[in-house]
Subunit: 172 residues, 2 copies
């Protein structure tokens, strides 16, 4: 990350998504190795939660993917590729993240031009939220991306996986 | 957040910091109310952790403040105001966040001009990390800010405080 690109809606968003997914993949690698070393059924790790009414690790990973690919699709006007939440193994979760990265990298940065003022409508189960491209990135995409990466980290850390801040904050 | 500012190092950073601190303050208000309602000594909440070798809630709040004021000081070339980590009550922690906001708002946005290419050296106990202003924001400031806000949320949520995603993702 030593070359500084022009600051625009692309450079304030896409490198953050890619770096977050890269670090999350590294964290998953460590969780998988921990389960193997301790002879823990991987599904115990993948289904671990911080509270009974919070989502398990699996869903945190899927939510990172959804946040990242949704951001790129909406900002660039590209179709959002469907990725059903069917993953149940570390290999499948990492493949989901890789497919997300492949999609992000397939989109021409030029398509993001002017996206900061574009209308973005986010449909949640509860309601529709109206954003501009800019308010969508700073008010939803970035906080939501890191929410799910950090929650994945917290689930693993709380359960004893040997992780440290440096695993979360690795450079690009 | 309906008006879209020009996209630059200021607009990609400062509104994110302010919105994050605002939502964290709201989350702390709910934690304080929960402790009062359940007649729990507030210090039990403030010292709660997700793992014995992770920092307690108190320190998560202080780290959000440090990340935010450090970012504004380094990017704008302003002196970073010292805020010793002496807070032990909800009132003091919320005052710390308010002082952080006051500092952020006191800095002239014009001072951020061109900060994306400025050298930023971050001294950690372990080492010095060299960034540009841009790589500092995307590789450290934003992930670190949300790491500590989300960890504060996770500590409280894990311990039964009635919080939901909407408390974390409130608009600006």
């Amino acid at each position: 990350m030593s070359d500084v690109p022009p600051i625009n809606i692309y450079s304030m968003t896409v490198p953050v998504l890619l770096n977050g997914i890269k670090n999350l993949t590294h964290i998953l690698d460590k969780a998988e190795a921990y389960a193997a070393e301790k002879k823990i059924d991987p599904s115990v790790v993948i289904e671990a939660r911080l509270a009974l009414d919070m989502h398990p690790l699996r869903r945190q990973i899927q939510s990172v993917s959804d946040t990242a690919k949704g951001a790129v699709a909406r900002l660039s006007g590209t179709e959002n590729p469907s990725m059903p939440d069917t993953e149940t193994t570390f290999a499948e979760l990492k493949e989901r993240l890789q497919k997300t990265v492949d999609f992000i990298k397939s989109v021409d940065p030029a398509l993001f031009e002017g996206a900061e003022t574009r209308d973005v409508v986010l449909k949640t189960p509860a309601r529709e939220i109206n954003f501009t491209g800019y308010s969508y990135v700073i008010g939803f995409v970035l906080p939501n991306l890191f929410f799910h990466i950090t929650t994945a980290y917290a689930i693993l850390r709380h359960n004893g996986v040997d992780l440290g801040k440096a695993d979360y904050l690795r450079g690009g």
